[in-house]
Symmetry: C2
Subunit: 548 residues, 2 copies
Amino acid sequence: MSKKMDGLMQEVELTVDRIIGHAAHWHGGREIISRDADGNVTRTDYASVHRNAKRVSNALCAAGIKPGDRIATMGWNSARHLAAWYGAAGMGAVLHTLNPRLFAEQISYIAKHGGSKLLIADPSTAELVGQLLEQIPAIEQVIFFCARENMPKTSFEAIAFDNWIGDQPAEYEWGGFDEKSACGLCYTSGTTGNPKGVLYSHRSNYIHALMTLQSDALALSSRDTVLLVVPMYHANAWGVVYSAPAVGAKLVLPGQRMDGESIYNLIEEEGVTYSAAVPTVWQMLLEYMQGNDKHFTTLERVTIGGSACPESIIRAFRDDYGVDVVQGWGMTETSPLGTVSVPNASVAAKSDNEQMAYKLKQGRLLCGLEMKLVDDEGNHLPHDGKTPGRLMIKGPTIARAYFGGEGGNVLDEDGFFDTGDVSTIDSEGYMQITDRAKDVVKSGGEWISSIEIENIAMGHDAVAIAAVVGVVHPKWDERPVLLCQLKSGGRADAADIREYLEGKIAKWWMPDDIIFVDEIPIGPTGKIDKLAIRAGLKGYSLPFEVTR
Amino acid sequence: MSKKMDGLMQEVELTVDRIIGHAAHWHGGREIISRDADGNVTRTDYASVHRNAKRVSNALCAAGIKPGDRIATMGWNSARHLAAWYGAAGMGAVLHTLNPRLFAEQISYIAKHGGSKLLIADPSTAELVGQLLEQIPAIEQVIFFCARENMPKTSFEAIAFDNWIGDQPAEYEWGGFDEKSACGLCYTSGTTGNPKGVLYSHRSNYIHALMTLQSDALALSSRDTVLLVVPMYHANAWGVVYSAPAVGAKLVLPGQRMDGESIYNLIEEEGVTYSAAVPTVWQMLLEYMQGNDKHFTTLERVTIGGSACPESIIRAFRDDYGVDVVQGWGMTETSPLGTVSVPNASVAAKSDNEQMAYKLKQGRLLCGLEMKLVDDEGNHLPHDGKTPGRLMIKGPTIARAYFGGEGGNVLDEDGFFDTGDVSTIDSEGYMQITDRAKDVVKSGGEWISSIEIENIAMGHDAVAIAAVVGVVHPKWDERPVLLCQLKSGGRADAADIREYLEGKIAKWWMPDDIIFVDEIPIGPTGKIDKLAIRAGLKGYSLPFEVTR
């Protein structure tokens, strides 16, 4: 009878060039502060970055870059990096961010796999760039994020960013392509197999920016001054590279210096109201403030992500410094924000102490996404706050595949992406990560959280680092084994640790063995390297049979 | 060389069924309060409305409704209306909202033009429905938003909504269609020509909801209790029909009663924190509170739109009741929100009194939209806060055409929609409506704001209503003429009014004639009917020649 009918609304593509265009047009004078490695602060604004981004587009065109080509950057957060970011995206190229803190061989793999012909890097990474050039002949041109006078001495040819774009016109007709076009490429530092690339689209980045601007997410406004600690090479700096310009927030880009004093001074000097960071940086800031009797005059709130934030940090910031610490969860494959631990009405009605239990969780799902907990057979698990399950997620900001088809099909039959995380979801909808799926110990059909045992064991005075892995067991499939690295001068034996754990964990969670090692292996991203631990335990067998 | 490359993100269509699905899944128990015409309050929640919406989809299918078909509703804000809303959208039908407060012949024209075969109406509109049925034989079925026991007595066949959906299953597979599919139809009560229909898409409504959830727009959160005064038949109730469920806000739907006492009681009884309303309702609320020494215990903020909000209302709510009144601007064709008068950083730094000048403007543009001021030749005009120009707007939430092609091409060559408003934009980006384009008086190549003269004239003690229209003038093209309706007992002559205006407006803005009338004609939406005034002035000629 009646045929399908389309709406009669304007067909405007959601491309991210519109975001920096908005910032330049409506918040043109709003400042962007960059600090370089020497501590020098340079000040620019959205209008200038917008002009420079257009110069970048022209410079890329002059270099023969076409829409769809990848452009690699390896830089800290800076205004020049921001101009490169939007200049590449605006002309339809794909910005491939490299993390200079990875091992050289990882960077080399990732850079080669991404296939960029042009690399824009921070001068501080010049030596690393030299190594990459030897391994990746495909890189034809190197630009350093600096002025001519700050160029590093290199044995290879390179141009200063300011010169590279200096003569280019500040006009360029951006956009005009489909919003599903690729916009950015970011690799996950895979703990199994090779790193895999997530290829963001303009659409996914744009929708993610809108989703995260809500009051119940990052809640950025034009009145905010945002200190962007989380690096631009980590999943779009949690999208703040888009959300801050979208509202015209002042942007403070701290470069490479993450020590407590540097971060504190930047917050105070620039009147920072909001920041996004990982717990370790916030821990360093806390220690500096506590040691130097410092206080904040403008900071209101911080989103913490990347790993679970310890209660001590949340409490200290709230009670001693009047700053609200909110946890977020996400991963490269989720753009990244998936959940934010902002109170809903019923949690907000609870006491401060009761609310803390929710602040320690990774939070509530953003509207637009779907999330489910499943067992190994894909069956739905209850949202009871205690049943752990594989966390699966779906939505327009979630990856459907990896660049180059690596890893094959990563979606289940309903289109959900397997996060590789194990978590619980409570009756208020708060999700809490309990483990990585590959680290969870599967014992007698039940799941034991390696992270939970580790966190408790690390509460023992003598323990510096604790790591739990599952070891094959004939009857229970797997049983947990705890490795402990003692603090220098710390003294404890297996019986001490076992006694300490008793009553704090379920009886059947008690590790079947406790092994003391001189050094627990740590991977390049600062996390315990369980692959290395498992390799070290090859041939190891459990010392005794457990009876339950 | 390289071909176009798409991102590898999930292809999830932005269809609005996802919004109520999210609310049901993650905020299922969050309350929805509906008040009927008798003042009775019924309580339900998102999970129930979601189930009922699925029943509506099944009932529509059973009635032979297919995707793309229009479904008419003529109802006040209620949970049943909300279920019909999402039930129609979820199955791909197009909800066509009729405004029961329009003249019967207008409703008839609009209903006929929309082409619905099925009408769901409030029982209070039964008589009107009877008239419509006589004029529109295409309407095959009538349902009333009520239970069987509240059915109105009618000479035509009709079903109670609760019975209509009662036996239907609460399962229905929603979505599965393109996000550009039509989702809703809403007519503008055109002051020239026939009403014209805006055909929203799922995509435009979804993006609009995300845009308006920002801190710098409506800033709704899961902790809010929203009193939705603005009707669902007015441009998606400013999108709150989508944005409130998206975050799981408690929703209070006031039905038909808009008097100050009823609104006040609802706010206090339900703990309302936020409302969206037109100035007249807020004026009535203010008068009630002032007359009865009332105060708010929970209300924090209100978005006012539809027409400019008088300073007295903004000041009274801020200073006497601690409620922040924020103006918004938009129209049916803009989904509707285009600008919101939320302070940016530089305005926020000003004194309360200085900020008031910005609160009186219609505000700053939402990111995602483009806005420009042009003269009659389409040339860009400066953002100096004083040069008035035609306001043009562009973006994914803006109409590109009217339903059925009415009005022809409504976009300029750059794709901007002509709002028909005349406005200024200041250096901070704040837009202020100064007139409707058809009402502005074009005199000697300059534009005189009819609204500004009217507002000043209405400040005169004796003046009840003032209206300014342009009258053809041989030398200046047009000159302003002021019509005054005096208050009962008010006394003033033309010389008094002229003296009152002197010094308050530019000399060349002084009306060439001041005419006293018993009654200035008011249109069905409560605005001065300038068409009728112009018709009444046919044959009128200016009393004297002006020299400048």
